[in-house]
């Protein structure tokens, strides 16, 4: 547990100089569009972009500073590296969600309100996305992953319009989630987190075990 805690702390320290600027820029950038965008959609876009950017900044710093090479000479468990990365996504998710809820409570920001169903839906999507994306980072390395990220960013408008065209489907899922009691939803999120952490740690470890530095 101490290893995972120190790995998470290390990752946040690596990006601490950039994280505040990024949050402020994105916060201010979202205010002008907030008035005409439904809260659920804006929250979904913001949370996905921010977790993605946080993860990318960490990967970039890892590549630049090369401390992972020293760590590879220590008995550090590769499974813990994977678990720590998935926890970073979850922690970022929680902080951004709290931030969004806080900002949306201020009338001036015009940010649309969100409900538990939006949070659960976003949580599920992000956790599943990063369960694939984190091992991919270890497999491809930051440089090759940057190409994938560029494609992802270019595809974002298409994905958003795709989502909007299937808005009924998403509304149905949201309504379905709304009917689930809160304790069951919390349990669902915990199960997702555990499954994603196990899957990320196992795939990451098998990739890192065969990696050369």
């Amino acid at each position: 547990m101490k290893q995972i805690y120190n790995l998470i702390k290390k990752d946040f320290i690596l990006i601490r100089n950039n994280i505040l600027i990024m949050l402020l820029v994105l916060g201010f950038a979202s205010i002008p569009v907030a008035k005409n965008t439904p809260g659920s959609l804006l929250y979904g876009v913001i949370i996905f972009m921010l977790t993605f950017m946080i993860y990318h900044m960490i990967s970039m710093e890892e590549m630049k500073q090369k401390g992972h090479i020293y760590l590879a000479t220590t008995p550090l468990s590769n499974k813990n590296i994977g678990i720590a990365k998935s926890f970073i996504i979850t922690i970022s998710f929680i902080i951004i969600t709290i931030g969004y809820i806080g900002l949306s409570a201020i009338n001036f920001t015009k940010l649309g309100r969100i409900g538990i169903e939006d949070v659960v839906l976003a949580f599920f999507t992000i956790e599943i996305f990063f369960a694939i994306y984190i091992p991919l980072t270890f497999k491809l390395g930051y440089i090759r992953l940057q190409m994938i990220s560029t494609v992802t960013i270019f595809l974002t408008p298409i994905i958003i319009s795709f989502i909007l065209r299937r808005i009924d489907f998403i509304i149905n899922i949201r309504n379905y989630i709304l009917n689930i009691p809160l304790p069951a939803l919390i349990l669902f999120c915990v199960i997702i987190l555990v499954l994603v952490s196990i899957s990320t740690s196992k795939t990451s470890a098998s990739i890192l075990d065969s990696k050369e530095y």
Binding site: G67, P75, S77
Partner: protein
Amino acid sequence: MEDILRISNISKHFKTFSLSNINISIKENCITGFLGKNGAGKTTLIKIILGLVHKDEGNIVYFNNPNLKKRDIKDRIGVVLDDGYFYDNLTLNQMKNLVSSTYTNWNEKKYKSYIERFRLDEKQIISSLSKGMKMKYALSLALSHNADLLIMDEPTSGLDPEVRKELMNILNEYIQEDGKSVLFSTHITSDLEQIADEIIIINDGKILEQISKDELIEEYRLIKSNNKILEKLNMNDLKLVNKTNYGFSAITDKYEKLRKEFPEIIVERASLEDIFLARTEVLENETNI
């Protein structure tokens, strides 16, 4: 003395470089110097030992136990890498917390004593450390978890003589403890001359020889005389011949024979650097033939 590390028939092939059929051993309570020119394969072999690069063929037995798990092996190895390879944004203390949580035998007291001895500030950011301070910090980490084998890749390159001397003293202290060994790669022969017990010479991805330092130094001599004598000598007996208008100097392992034939020849002890260059010259010539 037991072998703390035994490497048999290791090979690794890259597009432009290969390590071929490497066979060496590191003995207990022994400082082994790993000597080779830049690009000879020192770092690649060290990376294979540390598990950072995977071997294509061969076998490595660590601590005389072929069944040790990877984690247990790493727990008993202290590492000092050429560039440090730390997270530059972290303070010394933050990096230490990360590293110490991975070892089962971390000794905080020992770590603090090294930090104090090297006059390092734990709150300092790693990027602000000089090369010498970074090496001292790496050494503090490597020696604070009761490692039995200390592996150092070019630790002295770019360091001033005072820091190098301090490092030699630390290594001497470390090796006095029972069951400790050091593998120390460098291209600076004077460091090994001071401290090494054994020398491994690597050239172009092949091990040229593993020999005790004293034996190696005893094998060769530096000879000097005038150019008339040089004309009478068999050039095959001489290496690194340096001829000027006043005379010549050369390295030879046939010094006993030459001294008998030409008593006027001055015979002096050869430096490890000269011997190393002579040995690699022999190998290069043999390869060219």
